[in-house]
Symmetry: C2
Subunit: 220 residues, 2 copies
């Protein structure tokens, strides 16, 4: 299976059984979330900014106002760490020590760069909209020149990445299985609810099928 | 209302209407999530680690293996940025440009330190369990000396913090309200599902009320 190469930077040192470098696993975690957390350093100070993102192959993308401090500095080629995580529930063990969460996470490392070509930027933003809500692009007003200029799209080739996943029941110390304590997991899911029309929605516009299909489904 | 002081580090420069520094708002976002993303710098490289956390007053806590690279270096007093974010749904506007997410997030800055006092560490870990699942501490086996030694609890006084929140319908350009495009939001929620007993659960142990109460509720 295709793998990212473990390095000093990406290697998971704790709980190695939970860590892997398979592209398929890493893509799976990256492609089933909407918000990531981007880490970067400005003047020795770490910042972690939550933002939307999308992926194509081994490249991660995010975007923002061309005037944003984070986006401007990112586009200069700053080292970045983009982390995605899903909280999948509580793991209730018989001891406090073995309590845990079930989760799926990916840490990806690379250097950010701006996409300056207008056509490439436009294409990237359309891919983003389709990634979040398939079918939406065909319906909406496309970006105009002013909007494209006001938006910076940042791309980061993944140099290294690792996934860390915990699932399943608690693992207790052998003697603790005799304790009179309920143990197990409480799964937690992200779910989409019924769409809420804009109060200013023009009369007579029905909810499109592609939005109806999106809702009511699990989102992680 | 009590506020964190805006600084160069914490000031939200984009979309200032979405940013605030009220303790009440910041506490609200911090106290309704389970996983945060901690950013720190090792050898000029940013890292963003998803982890569980809890809060007391203006202090944030997280924990990990005493042998973990992140935890060891954190405890030395590294500058850190702890970010919490809730993804609340899609904002579907009439133009691609005004598409957005609804979200609530907090960025908190400070310096981490280890809690070395055994009693303080023990107390902190009990507070953590109670924060995640009220009622659990009374039932489980408490930490023993070996487990306490293997666990580092990290505390960070919040020096600066800001909340950024977007809610409500899309805001479109005036002429776009005439387009024949459905617009609105699709709310997304984190929900807890029915508990799954450990396959090795001792016969005759019923699900406690405090766990039953926790499930079936919204979690963000």
């Amino acid at each position: 299976m295709s793998q990212f190469k473990p390095t000093v930077r990406s290697r998971g040192r704790r709980a190695p059984k939970r860590v892997n470098y398979d592209r398929e696993t890493i893509y799976g975690v990256l492609d089933s979330s909407f918000m990531c957390h981007v880490g970067y350093v400005l003047d020795d100070q770490p910042f972690v900014t939550p933002t939307s993102y999308w992926r194509e192959g081994d490249t991660l993308f995010w975007h923002g106002s061309a005037a944003s401090r984070m986006i401007k500095r990112m586009a200069e080629g700053l080292p970045a760490c983009l982390t995605v995580s899903h909280f999948d529930g509580l793991v209730l063990a018989r001891s406090g020590f073995h309590h845990s969460f079930n989760y799926r996470s990916v840490m990806a490392f690379g250097r950010a760069r701006a996409i300056n070509d207008k056509a490439a930027k436009e294409a990237a933003l359309e891919i983003f909209v389709e990634r979040v809500m398939p079918g939406r692009t065909a319906e909406i007003r496309p970006a105009n020149a002013k909007e494209l200029k006001a938006t910076t799209v940042v791309a980061m080739e993944i140099e290294e990445a690792s996934a860390k996943i915990r699932s399943g029941p608690p693992i207790d110390d052998a003697p603790d299985y005799d304790l009179e304590v309920w143990a197990g997991t409480v799964p937690v899911k992200l779910v989409a609810e019924a769409p809420v029309p804009d109060p200013d929605l023009k009369a007579g516009i029905e909810l499109p099928d592609y939005i109806a299909q999106w809702t009511g489904m699990e989102k992680n």
